[in-house]
Symmetry: C2
Subunit: 479 residues, 2 copies
């Protein structure tokens, strides 16, 4: 018999070593948050700087964990753009908070897979449960609760949600034919406004429809919301040409300017045409924790699927996209496959949910723990205060812009995103952005609105206070 | 002006509270590892048990973090199947280890997005760098290193890797036509053995080809490896029918029994037909850290893409699939889209990698930190000892099976997976599995080999010692 090498020869970290290094890492993070304002928001690294500080080859012998922390400070931090900095106003926020970090740490510690109910029942049941909780906190319509034919699941990102919604749509509209025979070029059409996130075009390409299958709905020049009359015209033209309208993706809080599409009107048109209606509310949807913002939910009772990201603006460390369907049958039809090595009695009883059939990958992390920790630590009260604080700060910033004749607001700003520009034109606007970003004092990004450059100021860090908002305005308006 | 509510009204966890609760969570995990053998490996929960222990509604007011930990013990743990238990022999392992957990904790703490180089340069550069390190540790061929036209990226899972490989294949074989015009049902064919993971069929469905596009290559009845002559025959038939062979997926360590396809022969046939050759070595590939196991790499110098999962058998907490391409042009062609709000000077210079163009989602976590921590903590020596220990334990188990006339080994077992059955037949074999699993003392799963049930014993927990292997054999052979 071959000699047996016991696995401990590998030099695994013992529980006591884990305690010691774990406390050090927790302290490192707490210290990082205490000193976060000492860093430039936008990394000032040039391409290749970080790699130049790393050894060319991996170590032959194991190294102490202290060395990892040393190199984190020395080599990694200069290459970090600080998303948790109070003056990070770029893109949309990506909140990472204490309870979420610790909930996710517990998930790493347990190290279980939730691909099937049977592979760790608590991973599936807690996920179903907290998505019901979240649906209640957002006052989402009843069709998304797990006690009927619908239900919720955590996807990695809103891009994944858009993709699986499209796959479910193709399943439903083709009565399952696409899974067997493929999508047939030129047969199916998808509709969304040009304000909608690029993930919808990417989903069309991934799903084999090609970018040509995507119809861009015109938007109102003031609200930047999709125009129902144009959706109707696009669908009519496609049907006249023998094409099948498969899916309409409406945005609630589109990436560029936060535009909100008229979901009730778009839904009515989609329904009449037999198309699936998916709502991408990745950033804005979570704001419905505040009752005064529940106009965001208008028309959701008629839609087929809905996505919003606790990992953007609801305090839950990436990745955590909450995705609900009104009827899970189409999703399962599109995505379920059952090889022998995954067969088990619980799945065959039909009494349980197997979330691998609700997503692209098979493996899945116990992500519900971090969302559970967030909802419990903050409670509904804390979540509402979080959203309201940011909305109020954004209104403050918008009032600064409105009061300065050199600037103009270029889109509605009912939430925490303000889009604005210099009246002096695109070059001046983009130069201003570059100057602020290169200063390291704040970071914001740009978009195009009706063909002209505009700056986006997205408030969302849990550390952003009035003073940071006033400071970025002072920087922007100093020139 | 609207009254400004400062965000701290939300009740965020302060750095000091984070220190305190963080230490408690670290200690909870260390304690969990110390007592892990006190739990039944397979959860004994019935459907609904976990949800029955959770409040029906989310809390209105925030709750102390101690309550989360209390309910973790009380409500969640009884619903956990313990993947890190030393007697977990089911599926494939999903290693979660100290350095990986702490590397991932640092990622949560930093809370950055690595979708573009510019959104945190270190996230991109460390990822490129550690994938070069890993390629060196596994002695992968030069075409996968980042200093040429190829390079590596972390995907979520091997399912995602198979999907993006297929999309790159379709891009290359259609010269970019599929992104614009779709895949045209019935035009493209994909080939893999019936031993290959179900993710390949799922990828065909997701990519719009439909399950009908997938050809199952016959396998050798003894080695269960794909037969090159049958691949050739399938391709010839498809070409004669006017179809285009797009992609061949070879397995190195297939899920059912660990079968290893003849990559050099399959590659030669794929190349001649103009098809992409992707190798899925999700579980087994990492074993090439040990030089004596580098037969696993045979033929990789000719393939287009390769995937193996540090999150399975290389000590890195989920999710971490390492995916390499020989030429990234096709991958970028398939997946890149550039909306205005993501434009930036670094990307336009062409001097940097933007990993959003290498994957399905846009957002991406700083996952390289955990792989970096693992490679540094263990070093090449520790990684080799880890793999060798498990291979030796598997050989020990196989020798037990071989010595007992009631049992038979049903597939080659050169690594850490042993597939076997009772000669008495399928019913006896499956009944034996159920008895062991229900005992809580160990957990293993089953598969079909040449149409007959077989049990899979996959060794992979970092805590598994000789005594656990001998104990599960004692249980299995007791009847």
């Amino acid at each position: 018999m071959q000699q047996v090498v016991e696995p401990e020869a590998a030099g695994h970290m013992t529980p006591d070593e884990f305690r010691r290094h774990g406390h050090a890492v927790v302290d490192w993070i707490a210290d990082y948050y205490e000193r976060i304002e000492s860093f430039p928001v936008l990394s000032q690294a040039a391409p290749g700087d970080v790699r130049a500080g790393l050894p060319a080859h991996p170590p032959e012998k194991g190294e102490p964990f202290e060395d990892v922390l040393r190199d984190l400070d020395r080599t990694i931090l200069p290459g970090i753009t600080h998303w948790q900095h109070p003056s990070f106003f770029a893109y949309f926020p990506g909140n990472s908070t204490g309870p979420a970090i610790l909930g996710d740490l517990l998930s790493s510690g347990l190290g279980v897979q939730g691909m099937l109910w049977a592979t760790s029942p608590a991973a599936t049941e807690l996920e179903t449960h907290v998505l019901d909780w979240l649906a209640e906190l957002l006052d989402l319509p009843a069709q998304f609760r797990s006690d009927g034919p619908g239900g919720g699941v955590i996807q990695s990102t809103a891009s994944d949600a858009s993709l699986v919604a499209l796959l479910a749509a193709l399943h439903r509209v083709s009565d399952g034919d696409t899974e067997r025979h493929g999508v047939a070029a030129g047969r199916y059409a998808v509709y969304t406004s040009h304000q909608t996130h690029s993930s919808v075009e990417k989903a069309c390409r991934i799903a084999g429809l090609g970018a040509d299958a995507l119809r861009k709905i015109d938007v109102d020049p003031v609200t930047l919301a999709a125009r129902p009359d144009h959706l109707r015209a696009l669908i009519d033209a496609d049907r006249a040409a023998g094409m099948i309208p498969a899916c309409v993706v409406a945005s609630v809080g589109a990436t560029g300017t936060g535009a909100v599409d008229p979901v009730p009107e778009l839904t009515a048109i989609a329904k009449e045409a037999g198309a699936w209606l998916h709502v991408d509310a990745a950033w804005a949807g979570v704001a419905a924790v505040a009752p005064e913002l529940r106009w965001l939910n208008a028309g959701l009772d008629g839609v087929d699927s809905y996505a919003t990201n606790p990992h953007k603006w609801l305090l839950t460390t990436f990745d955590c996209d909450a995705f609900w369907v009104a009827d899970r049958a189409a999703l399962l039809g599109a995505l379920s496959i059952l090889p022998e090595y995954l067969r088990n009695a619980a799945s065959e009883s039909g009494a349980v949910i197997d979330y691998r059939d609700w997503q692209v990958p098979l493996g899945r992390r116990f992500r519900a723990l971090k969302l559970w920790a967030v909802l419990r630590w903050y409670g509904a009260e804390g979540l509402r205060a979080h959203i309201r604080g940011h909305v109020a700060l954004a209104q403050r910033f918008a009032s600064h812009v409105a009061a300065d004749a050199r600037f103009e607001l270029v889109a509605p700003h009912p939430l925490s995103l303000v889009t604005f520009r210099l009246r002096a034109g695109d070059d001046a606007t983009l130069a201003l952005m570059r100057r602020v970003n290169e200063s390291g004092a704040a970071y914001l990004t740009h978009t195009l609105v009706n063909g002209r450059a505009a700056l986006r100021l997205a408030i969302g860090s849990t550390r952003t206070e009035l003073r940071h908002v006033d400071a970025v305005w002072a920087l922007l308006s100093a020139s």
